[in-house]
Symmetry: C2
Subunit: 142 residues, 2 copies
């Protein structure tokens, strides 16, 4: 079911400063920026590697407001890893398979993710404390 580590999502207070840090320290470059009003974040995808089934990225997330999931995460946990995302070929099918094992889904249907992907989050309490995301990349010609 799991094809790759699609991305690691990292919460930060200052997106531009953190992009600069990752570029200077590791040479990682931004390949996509997006404001996701639904999730309340301003985000950037930094490209790490390409694979047969899709890319791997570091996703930097800055909350649009304190009263958002990432804003609350920063207030209680501070900057750091917010979630881990796995690439799948069929997000709806993976959601069904995973729900059947007893793991709760935060999203009942797939929703919009970075770079036109289709995503769903699983409940961290059912995945060993890790907020876990499933990512179906868009068709290559999209």
């Amino acid at each position: 079911m799991i094809l790759r580590i699609d991305h690691v999502g990292i919460a930060c207070h200052d997106l531009e400063a953190t992009i600069a840090l990752y570029q200077k320290t590791f040479g990682l470059k931004v390949v996509h920026r997006e404001v996701n009003e639904e999730q309340g974040v301003r985000e950037a995808m930094l490209h790490v590697a390409d694979g047969e089934t899709g890319g791997s990225y570091i996703q930097l997330l800055e909350p649009l407001h304190p009263d958002t999931p990432v804003g609350k995460f920063l207030a209680t946990r501070g900057e750091g890893v917010h979630h881990v995302a796995y690439g799948v070929s069929d997000v709806a099918g993976a959601m069904d398979e995973i729900a059947a094992t007893g793991v709760r889904l935060i999203d009942k249907t797939p929703r919009h993710g970075s770079m036109n992907s289709s995503i769903a989050f699983l409940h961290p309490k059912d995945v060993g404390g890790v907020l876990t995301e499933l990512v179906q990349a868009p068709p290559r010609d999209s």
Copy 2:
């Protein structure tokens, strides 16, 4: 410098139970087990994907004792993502390059990591709150 997301390290209280959870939920399988007395952990590597430069894994970590880095992490943060590891071709060279940018290294020289890799940790305070590891995989014929 960065070739891949080599692994995401996840701290857990019960290694066997968490392996079973990841296998049941995601179909991920253990490809390596190890006790690292130096780091005070019992660990398992679950294979996610292969790439041109090496594999990608989920690393599950159970502390050998409460008075270890992972034991203290669990006591203060609870179960969840402990660190993010990037694959590099030359860990000593990457350490030098990164130190030159002002990021502090936890390890002054490379040390033993999972599956005979050579690793070094960077200081999380200098990498946006993320405990970050560099991993040089062993030669393929080793």
